[in-house]
């Protein structure tokens, strides 16, 4: 029992350390949660295979249980990561904290967190990831974008959500 807990913690901290180092030296810039999750899982498999061969042999069941704990830490990290990288609310309170008087009017907030930051950087990212297609300055959904939108509309109806976004 303790092996699984300790091994999952150890592998997660090594993953986190790698993630921070790679980001600090600009070798990793992705904001995609799926990319991060795949990287984390790959990392876990490499560590567990290395550990099993060179350090301490354990039945595969121990590593499977450890993987469940690892997945929990990974999803918590993803929550933190997505919140920090994408949250509009966090950006607003950070802008107030960055300001010299620690207070901002709606007009100043509009200027500091401009429409450019709000919309166009996201649109560029969506074009880059092939969710949207830029056709002579006109945006249209790509086929994978259309599929995602249809799924989104289905869930909005299912939850009866009228004002999303």
């Amino acid at each position: 029992m303790f092996f699984s807990l300790l091994f999952s913690l150890l592998s997660f901290f090594i993953f986190l350390l790698f993630e921070i180092i790679l980001r600090q030296i600009n070798l990793r810039k992705t904001l995609s949660p799926i990319n991060i999750l795949i990287f984390a899982l790959l990392f876990y498999f490499i560590i567990s295979i290395t550990f099993n061969i060179f350090v301490f042999y354990n039945p595969i069941e121990r590593y499977l249980i450890s993987l469940l704990y690892f997945l929990l830490y990974a999803v918590l990290y993803l929550h933190l990561f997505i919140g920090l990288s994408k949250s509009v609310s966090l950006r607003i309170i950070d802008e107030i904290n960055y300001s010299s008087l620690k207070q901002l009017s709606l007009f100043e907030l509009n200027k500091l967190y401009s429409e450019d930051d709000f919309f166009y950087k996201r649109v560029d990212l969506m074009i880059e990831n092939n969710w949207l297609i830029n056709n002579k300055n006109h945006l249209v959904c790509s086929s994978k974008g259309t599929l995602l939108v249809k799924l989104n509309i289905f869930f909005l109806d299912l939850y009866k959500i009228k004002n999303s976004g």
């Binding site: 069941e61 901002l104 919309f119 969506m126 945006l139 939108v149």
Partner: protein
């Protein structure tokens, strides 16, 4: 153990079913409902697994595994639900789809079926005032002590992960 893990995964999907039912019945979206669904799913899973003698009160490892799986599904579900509810990029994508084609410079105007940038900013400001992270003194928005702490932590983490200002 593998059979047990499989059952735990199946039962933890009840979080989604419980939450969907509550949202459809009450027509309200509250964080407390999600917590309630998590607890309900854990209690339900444990009861069923206990009845079929797959877990006992002293089988700590199995109990921890059950909690981990439920928490994992819970956090993944929160992420999914918040994307549906508040996903900014997904809303832009939906608006483009609903308008068939949109000129790149007018994307800010059609956002959220024509409500636009100011509506979004106001909606987010209202929600962070409600969460007591900021307050309005009639002219400016100021941070509460709680908001100051959250923002300091956020700035530190953004620097560690090199995320820039975020929210883009």
């Amino acid at each position: 153990m593998i059979k047990y893990i499989f059952y735990c995964f199946c039962f933890s999907s009840l979080i989604f079913i419980f939450h969907l039912s509550i949202v459809r019945i009450t027509n309200k979206i509250k964080f407390i409902y999600l917590i309630f669904c998590l607890l309900a799913s854990i209690i339900f899973s444990f009861t069923i697994l206990f009845i079929f003698s797959l877990v006992s009160f002293f089988d700590f490892e199995k109990i921890i595994v059950m909690f981990s799986i439920n928490l994992f599904i819970f956090f993944a579900y929160i992420e999914f639900f918040s994307m549906i509810c508040r996903g900014f990029s997904l809303r832009i994508l939906t608006d483009v789809y609903l308008n068939k084609t949109v000129e790149i410079n007018s994307i800010n105007k059609i956002y959220a079926m024509g409500k636009g940038h100011s509506w979004l900013l106001k909606k987010r400001i209202d929600s962070i005032i409600k969460s007591k992270l900021i307050y309005y003194d009639g002219e400016n928005y100021l941070l509460t002590n709680f908001g100051k702490n959250i923002s300091t932590i956020s700035i530190i983490f953004k620097k560690i992960l090199k995320l820039g200002k975020g929210g883009e």
